[in-house]
Amino acid sequence: MSADDERVTTQGEEFARALDAARDGSEWGFVELFRSVQPALLRYLGALAGPLAEDVAAETWLRVVHDLARFEGDEDGFRAWVFTIARHRWLDARRAAARRPPEVYDGGEALAEIPSSEVVADAVEEAMSTEAALQLIATLPPDQAEAVLLRVVGGLDVDRVAAIMGKRPGHVRVLSHRGLKRLAVLVQDPAGSGHVVTQRNHPTVGRV
């Protein structure tokens, strides 16, 4: 976990205390765990599941509550566990709505709506908002977007991301590198294919 950002995390012993307290039924402990993961989880799911993000997150926490006593590990392990559950729930939701394509990957439609590279450049120069940043990441190919989100938003290392995505670490590394290079092009090359996605496509993004 990097020390440079402001991710809401519960470090070390504090996490262990919160976990033990939650296992003992303490609401305080559970709230600590929840707040340490939920913002990142919503951003991850917002990019993947779009309007289903909050529902998927709610189902994820139901499972977490149910299985919390069985969890063993540190904070990173807990985050990886929660993200794994969330991914499975998202896949379930996607199967349930098989005829509805995941909006998060509908980059072509977003590009058609707002193909303005100037908007992207302006957004970066004017201190890009969280919402715009997530929407830009969401325009990446699905695997690349997920790898970047899990690594950057989820704060997980390559091995944990690989485990969550069911891929080899080397593949995850390639995906995240390609995704970042693509993002770099999008934010640096106004003449490129830079575009942003409107909030109505991803109503949950940036709402945490």
């Binding site: 950002d5 402001e6 919503l42 006593a69 989100l149 938003v153 770099a184 945490v208």
Partner: protein, 251 residues
């Protein structure tokens, strides 16, 4: 943008802010948020679920494994007992066991109401079963009664059976009583003096209970019921325990 810088951006966007300020800003914006948030979206719902369902019980793999092993062991023991017991029972029923084993099983089985042949039975002298220490309970008396009814005078096992047979076979009429009386006073069916030492010796060895068994069948069931009372209590224990477990199981 090389791989090393990309890795730094992924792990910590701010560390690559100088080399790639736009991308670092984008990633930082995606991964950070205010720390003084109020309730996070979904917090109340998750907390409600936590309050409602609580946390599932801790894993009980070891306990469940132990229970499974215990159940499996009991099942194997039970199956083995059935196989062995069934085999022994079959052998006992077929009267193919060695004499001591056959007599022992016959005596034990008689306590639970099963009638397995004993080698003492083979000579059709029910009273001789009293020589068998295992035949001092119901089995002995049942055998005596059964033999008396079964053989019915052809070859009476004892004096009583002989008299009973005579009473049934004698034609009714004025002389019926005398015929039966004569039969009762005869020596038919009575043990020879040499044989009579058996029950007496048994009575000496085993005390008054055996005397009452040898002398009178009627009190014997009472004696046995009295002596088996603890066993009855013991056999009743499971039901008592069962009822005792019930509250626990409900609890």
């Amino acid at each position: 943008m090389d791989d090393e810088m990309i890795e730094r951006l992924l792990a910590s966007p701010a560390t690559a802010a100088e080399e790639a300020p736009e991308l670092a800003m984008l990633l930082a914006a995606a991964s950070t948020y205010p720390t003084d948030l109020g309730p996070v979206a979904g917090q109340e719902a998750a907390l409600a679920a936590f309050r409602a369902g609580g946390v599932a019980a801790p894993p009980r793999r070891k306990r469940m494994l132990g229970k499974a092993l215990a159940a499996k062991t009991l099942a194997m023991l039970g199956a083995g007992t059935l196989v062995l017991g069934g085999g022994v029972a079959a052998a006992a029923a077929a009267d193919t066991l060695p004499v001591p084993a056959q007599n022992a099983i016959s005596g034990a089985a008689s306590h639970v109401g099963l009638d397995f042949p004993s080698h003492a039975q083979g000579n059709h002298h029910g009273w001789q079963n009293s020589n068998n220490p295992h035949h001092q309970g119901n089995g002995n008396d049942n055998q005596g009664t059964d033999n008396g009814n079964k053989d019915n005078g052809n070859q009476p096992d004892n004096h009583g059976a002989y008299v009973s047979g005579v009473a049934r076979s004698a034609s009714p009429g004025p002389g019926h009583g005398k015929t039966v009386s004569d039969a009762a006073h005869s020596q038919d069916g009575k043990p020879t003096p040499a044989q009579s030492h058996g029950p007496d010796a048994n009575a000496t060895d085993h005390g008054a209970t055996n005397q009452s068994q040898a002398g009178d069948g009627a009190p014997e069931p009472q004696e046995n019921e009295t002596s088996e009372a603890p066993e009855t209590d013991t056999s009743g224990a499971p039901s008592g325990l069962g009822s005792g477990h019930a509250p626990g199981s409900h609890g």
